[in-house]
Amino acid sequence: MSPADTLRFATRAALGYPLRSALMVLAMSIGVAAVVMLTALGDGARRYVVEEFSALGANLLIVLPGRTETGGVNPGSFVSSTPRDLTNDDAAALLRLALVRRVAPLTVGNSEISVGGRLREVLVVGTSADYLDIRGFKVAGGQFLPREDFGRATAVAVIGETIRAELFGNQNAIGRMIRLGDRRLRVIGIMGPAGRGLGMNSDELVLVPVATAQAMFNTNALFRIMVETRDREALAPAQRQVEDLLRARRDGELDFTVITQDAVLGTFDRILGALTLGVAGIAAISLAVAGILVMNVMLVAVTQRTGEIGLLKALGASARAIRLAFLAEAGLLSLAGAVAGFALGHAGAWLIRLVFPALPAWPPDWAVATALGTALVTGLLFGVMPARRAAALDPVQALMKR
C-alpha cells in the first residue's frame, strides 16, 4: 500500500466515524489550547512586571531598611534584632557620593485629602525634587517639588491628574489649598498622565516633600531611598560605595539592603517564569488526559472495526499495512487536534489581551512547540498500541467478529 493510499484510507476512516473523531480532536485541542492560553497568561504576567520595572530606568539602586539575607550569615544580624531606620540624613549623605547623581528618599502612606466638601482617600508619597527624573515622570502644569533640604517640611503638594479632576473639576487647581490629613498644603503642580510603574499610578498620587510626609505620619523613618548613579557602568561600584557609606554611618552594621533594579527584575523574572512553567505543567496534565483518551478511542476503533481488519487481511493486507493505516489515522486526528488547539489557544490569548490590554498575553514559543509536540507524540504513541493489536489479529477470528 503506497503512503498516499494509506493516508487517504486513514482520512476516509477518520471521517467515516465523525462523532468519535470529533471527540478525539476536541479533547486534543482543549489540551493544546490550555497549554497555549495558560502559558500566554503566565508569560504575559511576567512580561508585564518586567516592563513595569524597566520603566524605572536602568541605573537605579534601591536602599531598603533591614537585612535581606542573600548569602551567608551576617554577624550583625545577631547583635541587633531591630534594624535602624533609614533617615533623611542617610539620604543626604548618599547624595554627596561621587558616583551618585540623584537621590530620592521615599516615605509612603495613606491619608485623606479634602477640598471644600470633597473628600477622598489617597496614597501620599513623601519624596524630593529628584524623584521626578528618577521615575521619568512629567509635570503637566505648575512645578514639581522644590529642590531643598530633605529636612524641610514645606507645605506644598503635587497632585495626580485623577485627583485634580475629582477635587477641582475644570477649575484651576494650582495655587489652591488642600487639606491632607491634618495639614493644609498648597498645590504647586499637576502630574502628567500615564506615569506608571511599581504598582503606583501617578494619576492617583499626592506627592509632598519627604519631611512633610514624615511629620504627617509621625515618623523619621524612610520607606526606601532611590539612588540614581552617573551611568550604568557605575552601578556596581556605586552599590559598594553606598553600602560602605551607610555601614560607616551605623557603626559598621549592615542592617540595610541595597538592591539593583537588575536584581529585582531577575527575581521577578525567575518567580514568574517558574509560575508559567507550573501553569504549563498543569496544562500538560490535560494534554496527557487527552492522550489517554486518544488511546481509548483508538482501542474502541480497533474493536469496532475488527471485522474490517479481518477483511483487509483476507484481501491480502500485510500486518504492516494495517498498522500503518491505524497509525496514520491516529496521527491525522492528533494533528487536527493540535492545529485546532493551536488556533483555539491563540484565540483565547487574543481574548485575554482584549480584556486586559495591559497584559502582553502572548504564548512563549517553547510552550507552543512543546504543546504541539506533546499532542502529536502522545497521539501517535497511543495510536501505536491499538494499531499493533489490530495488526496482530488472526484473520479468521477478526472476520468472524462482527
Binding site: G16, K313, G316, S318, A319, V396, L399
Partner: protein
Amino acid sequence: MAQIELDGINRIFQLGDSQVHALRDVSLRIEAGEYVAVMGPSGSGKSTLLNLLGLLDRPNAGHYRLEGRDVTTLSADEQAAVRSARIGFVFQSFHLVPRLTAAENVALPLMLAGIPPHERSRRVEQALKDFGLETRAHHRPEELSGGQRQRVAIARATIMRPAMLLADEPTGNLDRATGQEVTALLEELNAGGMTLIVVTHDPTMGERARRRVLMEDGAIQHDLRRETQPA
C-alpha cells in the same frame, strides 16, 4: 501436480477444557479450473475447510500445497501476499466496508497490492462494467440491494485475477432469483478458467457443480464427480 493438495489436515479448536475436532485427516486434491461444491450439515467443518484453503487459518496438523508450494509453513505476511495474488473470497454476509463506495470497495485489493491509481481506476471501471454495476459505482453498500452487494463483493474478489475463488454460502443471504444470478456469475468466472470452490446448503446449486465434496463431522464422506459437463 494438482493446484490444491491437502494431506492429513487436522484442525482442532480449543474451547475451554473441551476440544472441537473441526477437521479430521482431510486429504483432498483439486485441479486448476475445477468447480467444487462443498456440502454437508451445519457444523460439519465446511467453513473451516474453506478458511484453511484461503490461508485465513492454519491447520494443527497436515500439509497444504498450493500450486506445488507448501504454504502451511509461510509467515503471516507471506501468506498475505499469496492471498493477495492467488485467492479471491466471497462471503455470505458480503463484508463490504460500509463507508466506502462500490468502486472503492472493489479497488481495495488493488490498493493493498500497491497498484498505481490510474491503472486501478481503469481496472475497477472495467470490472464494474463486467458485473453490470457501472451506474452504482459511487453508491455506498447501504444504498445497494443484496444482489448488487454480492456482485460488488465478487468484483472485489476477482479484481486481482486470482487462480481460485472461494465462496462461503454466497447465496445464503439472497432470495432465490438473486441467488441464481450470483451463481451464474460465479460459474461464468469458472468457465473462464478460475477454480471455484463453493460452500452451499442449496442442493440445486450443488447439483450444478461438476464435483461435490460431502462433509460430515469434520471428515470428507463422499467425493462425487459428474462426468458430463453441463452446457
